[in-house]
């Protein structure tokens, strides 16, 4: 019975952490965007604007809830919930650190909610059903813009799911396990981003598409579809969509960190020093947080700088560039692993070199086609 209590407490702590993270991510994004755009950003609510998320939340709670007359009432209410739930539960399998022993009771507490042997598959499964909320929101609103947004979301999700899955496969092969804890453990000596840099890059691109962030924010493309799938949502229901979007950002960064950036582990060259998580267990969550913050900054930076890609080009990019490239990477990784097994561990460098060449070829081809298009026009 004790085990149940432990799980419930851990689940609550994790949920609370993600919720707080979401709230402060909004502030982080607004301040970072403002910094990039030579502005100041929210600084009036509380010291340095630290209470801004709370103000937003309280305001949205006390805002009128509105359901359009001809909307499908049931799905209209269900959609935001269906968006937010996957974003929360997907974090369950992500290891946040090693473990520590509870004082007095002498009971070991692991820093993850669950370590299942198909952890990576769990991630894909949950990520793939996360789109339902958006699609249903678009459909149930009875608004043409919302529906276009919902349709874009479903098409985009399907296009990028496969490349994302292949990037998972690369990490699985390198870690030789589907358990996230094992994958993190396998990165003790070398982060996978060093071994498979192109895979990490593709992973981050596809995750941008999966969480509908700029430049892939098709479903809510403000300038095209006004507010896209959440056009008709107000008050707390809208807040749920908002929440889901930012939670997904956090969670997806956590996954990226876990799969490619050593998870909760320190830099591989800090192994055995006092900075190692083996030395202090509480360094694990801190390292994870730092890495996540850095990745999030990249997401914000991209949003501030790049124009939005066009909807059909986005699909073409997914199918014609990312999918073949990630397939090639899976193949190259497999070859590298076989080489290591047969000839010795120095052949591990075959993987980064060959995949960088593959990535370079892809970039060149894309560039060439673009140049041809410019020339033709």
């Amino acid at each position: 019975m004790e085990l149940w209590i432990e799980w419930i407490i851990k689940a609550f702590v994790l949920a609370f952490a993600i919720l707080t993270g979401f709230a402060y991510l909004t502030l982080y994004e607004r301040r970072a965007l403002a910094r990039i755009q030579v502005r100041i950003g929210p600084n009036r609510a509380g010291p340095q604007g630290l209470l801004q998320p709370i103000a937003d939340a309280v305001k949205l709670i006390f805002k009128e809830e509105f359901t359009p007359a001809r909307a499908d009432k049931f799905l209209f209410v269900l959609a935001p919930i269906m968006t937010v739930v996957p974003a929360m539960i997907i974090a369950a399998v992500i290891p946040l650190g090693t473990q520590f022993t509870l004082p007095f009771v002498d009971h070991p507490i692991t820093l993850y909610v669950a370590d299942i042997n198909v952890g990576v598959l769990y991630l894909t499964a949950i990520a793939s059903i996360a789109v339902y909320g958006i699609v249903l929101a678009g459909w149930s609103s009875n608004n043409k813009y919302a529906m276009l947004g919902g349709m874009r979301a479903s098409a985009q999700m399907i296009s990028y799911e496969i490349s994302l899955g292949l990037c998972f496969v690369i990490a699985i092969m390198l870690g030789n396990s589907m358990s996230l804890l094992d994958i993190v453990g396998a990165q003790k000596n070398m982060w996978f981003v060093v071994i498979q840099p192109v895979g990490a890059l593709i992973f981050m691109v596809t995750t941008l598409a999966e969480v509908n962030r700029a430049p892939f924010d098709m479903p809510e493309a403000e300038q095209e579809l006004t507010a896209g799938y959440h056009s008709e949502y107000s008050g707390m229901k809208f807040a749920l969509f908002f929440m889901a979007e930012y939670e997904k950002m956090i969670v997806i960064s956590m996954i990226a960190v876990t799969l490619y950036f050593g998870g909760f582990r320190e830099f591989w060259f800090l192994q055995g020093t006092v900075f190692s998580v083996d030395h202090f267990w509480w360094l694990g969550p801190i390292y994870l947080l730092l890495k996540v913050v850095v990745l999030l900054f990249f997401m914000i930076w991209i949003r501030a700088t790049w124009p939005r890609i066009r909807y059909d080009r986005l699909m073409a990019f997914g199918w014609k560039v990312l999918l073949p490239l990630s397939l090639a990477l899976v193949f190259l990784t497999a070859v590298g692993i076989v080489l290591v097994q047969q000839l010795g561990s120095v052949y591990i460098w075959f993987i980064p070199i060959s995949s960088l060449i593959a990535g370079l070829i892809a970039v060149l081809l894309v560039n060439l086609s673009l140049r041809r298009k410019v020339a033709r026009a």
Binding site: G41, K59, E64, E222, H230
Partner: protein
């Protein structure tokens, strides 16, 4: 309206809650992304680097009226636009506020003729009028801050409709 209406009906003394909610509303007032004419350009300037309305948490301009709290009527409202404006106002959920930015929106300005509505208060109820043709960004921000003062004084009791 939301929860506060029921609270008001109960007649419970809710001053602390009132203060909190009004504080939240003033600090997270999302304007609607909606410009009409010249004033819209100054409204954009107010969002930009030199003036930066985002300090007040106001840079989240919502393209959908469903998610906005504040309608800044920036510019002249023609007779053709007036029904659309009213409709947008009706689409905004409570609580909502309106700032008439500039002379044209406040009273018709220099355009005292057949085509322009002589003051947007004929179409939607206005909370704050900002004078100027167009008002400088500072003037708009002053108008917004004036609106904050008004919002801070709002009582749940008054919002309950008979």
């Amino acid at each position: 309206m939301g929860v506060e209406q029921k609270l008001g009906n109960l007649g419970i003394v809710t001053t602390t809650l009132e203060t909190t909610v009004n504080w939240a509303r003033t600090n997270a007032m999302w304007p609607m992304l909606f410009g009409l004419a010249c004033c819209a350009i100054e409204m954009m300037s107010a969002q930009a680097a030199d003036y930066d309305m985002s300090r007040f948490g106001m840079e989240l301009m919502r393209p959908s009226p469903r998610q906005s709290d504040l309608m800044i009527v920036a510019g002249r409202v023609s007779r053709k636009m007036a029904p659309v404006l009213r409709r947008l106002y009706d689409q905004m959920p409570e609580p909502k506020w309106v700032i008439a930015m500039g002379d044209c929106a406040s009273c018709g300005g220099v355009f005292n003729n057949y085509a322009v509505v002589q003051g947007v208060d004929e179409v939607v109820p206005v909370d704050v009028y900002v004078a100027g043709c167009p008002p400088r960004p500072e003037a708009l921000i002053h108008g917004v801050v004036t609106l904050f003062e008004k919002v801070k004084g709002e009582k749940f009791k008054d919002l309950v409709k008979a």
